[in-house]
């Protein structure tokens, strides 16, 4: 993704801590998000992503710490701070008994969009999300994907400076997820909108975000650009090789002590620090043994591997 137009700080989290009884859900988390930045907040289920987002939007109070949104303290001036944000929570929360149009207009009115602009903006939003033909349908009549699109319309109709998205494409079909990602990118590039996005989808984070933070067990474990995070795990570079034969044994072609091997369909993925040399050796050995290589590629570490490396990758779905 292109670099963002850096401006003032849109979001400041300063020592955010939230306790539920004796359990610390978020522990002393601090970060800043610049204006025009798309900021990904990643973590396993139960790591504290949504709790952090909910503290930032003022849905739940912080136990200790401070959150500034567009320069306003969310605890001291919540209403003023919220005039600058749009929120798309994880669970669909459109009004089931209102039509698509009424839902969008409700949010426009709550956010003080001038009457003269409401219709124009509302129609533009519905067009952007391919919902114009469904303006008269009730919220309850929409599929999950359409409800998610409607929620984005509702969040964006006020043209907020900052958009909070909690798992925006979770469980959506490919077309809906792609449409949502495209609109988010467009809003960010054309309007300089700041986006705070929590997600499990590492490809999505890699694709959308200028920077990502990884939270684990309530503690901020890493924060950087996706490229910089990937460079932290260069040892996770790999070679992926697929054979035409389905019965090739690992020991036939691979002999790299200390390397990690993952079996894939008709082949292997071998992790090591010198994937180019490994690829050459594998190809040479396959030729000697008369095996037919269908494809062989060297791969850079993915954000998912960074994530697994930092979080251990074995946390439960709590």
């Amino acid at each position: 993704m292109n670099s963002f137009p850096s401006s003032s700080r849109s979001i400041v989290a300063d020592g955010l801590t939230r306790k539920f009884g004796d359990r610390i859900a978020v522990d002393n988390v601090s970060f800043t998000v610049d204006g025009g930045e798309v900021f990904g907040f990643l973590g396993p289920n139960g790591a504290g992503k949504s709790t952090t987002a909910r503290m930032l939007t003022g849905f739940i109070p912080v136990t200790t710490g401070k959150a500034l949104i567009a320069g306003y303290d969310i605890a001291e001036r919540p209403s003023t701070a919220r005039r600058h944000i749009g929120v798309v929570p994880e669970e669909a929360n459109v009004y089931a008994d209102l039509t698509v149009w009424q839902n969008v207009m409700l949010m426009a009115e709550l956010h003080g969009v001038a009457k003269a602009n409401r219709d124009t903006r509302g129609k533009a939003m519905l067009e952007s999300f391919d919902l114009a033909t469904r303006a008269g349908q009730k919220g309850r009549q929409l599929s999950k994907g359409l409800r998610q699109r409607l929620m984005l319309c509702m969040a964006l109709v006020s043209e907020p400076e900052i958009l909070f998205l909690d798992e925006p494409t979770s469980g959506l079909d490919v077309a809906s997820a792609r449409l949502i990602r495209e609109v988010i990118t467009k809003m960010n590039r054309e309007r300089g909108m700041t986006v705070f996005i929590t997600t499990h989808n590492m490809d999505e984070a890699d694709q959308l975000c200028h920077r990502v933070a990884i939270i684990d067990k309530g503690i901020l474990a890493a924060i950087d650009t996706p490229a910089a995070l990937r460079s932290r795990v260069e040892s996770q570079r790999s070679v992926e090789v697929r054979f035409r034969e389905s019965t090739v044994k690992q020991e036939d072609v691979l002999s790299y002590p200390g390397s990690r091997v993952v079996m894939i369909a008709n082949g292997f993925r071998v992790f090591g620090s010198e994937p180019g040399r490994m690829a050459q050796e594998i190809a040479a050995k396959a030729t000697t043994l008369g095996l037919h290589i269908e494809s062989i590629n060297t791969l850079a570490p993915t954000l998912e591997e960074v994530f697994v490396s930092i979080t251990g990758g074995l946390h439960g779905n709590g």
């Binding site: 909910r54 919540p78 209403s79 009004y95 009424q102 709550l110 509702m154």
Partner: protein, 256 residues
């Protein structure tokens, strides 16, 4: 820093948002055929079931029905709005919008109050057309309807505060609180004719003051003075709103 200008801007913003929330409530929760029907039919039949065995005169019966209709309608939906919104997760949408908790609650109260006043006009109009009842003093009647609706709607919003996602639990609590109030408020029997324990309990119910004003509006004898009725209804309203705000805030901060 909050300047005077920004404080005024914030106040006006929240007044506007109150109206938006009330409008939303009317569209989503009030303008439903079952709610409208229930609002008129239930208090009417409830009253008639009692009055049938008592041969109540028109001047007792009509103010009683009007006051009961107002009480039931203004406080009927308010207790359920927040639990419904929590259940549908739309509560998070409201709380993360620029609407303050005060504006959200004020919107709930405004919608309930409007609904109560409008629906109580149905039995009132029917009584004027079908019986010999006449409006003798419009001001007490108007004050009774408006301030009564305000207090009852405030009570409804207070009843919505407990931390539950189940509207049925709130419904039980609501009936547990509202039904006993009817019997000590001079709706069925004028307060002056109630037994001593009833007369002792009646000042504790906002319905007593509302029914008193409505009765005076139809030419009946007052039990409390006009000023006491007004002050009591305003006092109950203030109490309900302050306590409701306190508990709604606690519940909002606790429930995630």
């Amino acid at each position: 820093m909050v300047t005077a200008d920004s404080a005024m801007d914030e106040f006006l913003w929240q007044v506007r948002v109150t109206w938006v929330v009330a409008k939303k409530n009317v569209m989503v929760y009030y303008l439903k055929p079952p709610v409208l029907t229930f609002g008129v039919i239930f208090p009417l039949f409830f009253y008639l079931a009692f009055a049938a065995g008592h041969k109540a005169p028109v001047e007792v019966m009509v103010p009683g029905i009007v006051a009961m209709a107002l009480f039931f309608t203004a406080s009927a939906v308010g207790p359920l709005i927040t639990p419904w919104e929590r259940q549908a997760k739309t509560y998070e949408r409201l709380v993360t919008s620029p609407a303050s908790l005060s504006a959200i609650l004020a919107g709930d109260i405004l919608a309930g109050m409007t609904f109560g006043v409008v629906l109580s006009l149905v039995p009132l109009a029917a009584a004027l057309v079908l019986t010999s009842a006449q409006i003798a003093q419009p001001l007490p009647l108007l004050a009774g309807l408006v301030l009564g609706a305000l207090a009852f709607s405030g009570l409804g919003v207070l009843l919505a505060a407990p931390a539950t996602e189940g509207p049925s639990q709130v419904m039980m609590l609501s009936n547990l609180v509202r039904l006993p109030l009817i019997f000590v408020s001079g709706v069925f029997v004028p307060l002056a004719e109630m037994p001593a324990w009833g007369q002792w309990l009646s000042p504790l119910s906002p319905l007593s003051y509302c029914a008193d004003l409505v009765r005076v509006g139809f030419g009946g004898e007052p039990y409390f003075s006009f000023a006491v009725d007004l002050m009591a209804l305003l006092g109950f309203t203030a109490l309900f709103i302050v306590v409701a705000h306190y508990f709604h805030r606690k519940t909002r901060d606790r429930v995630v």
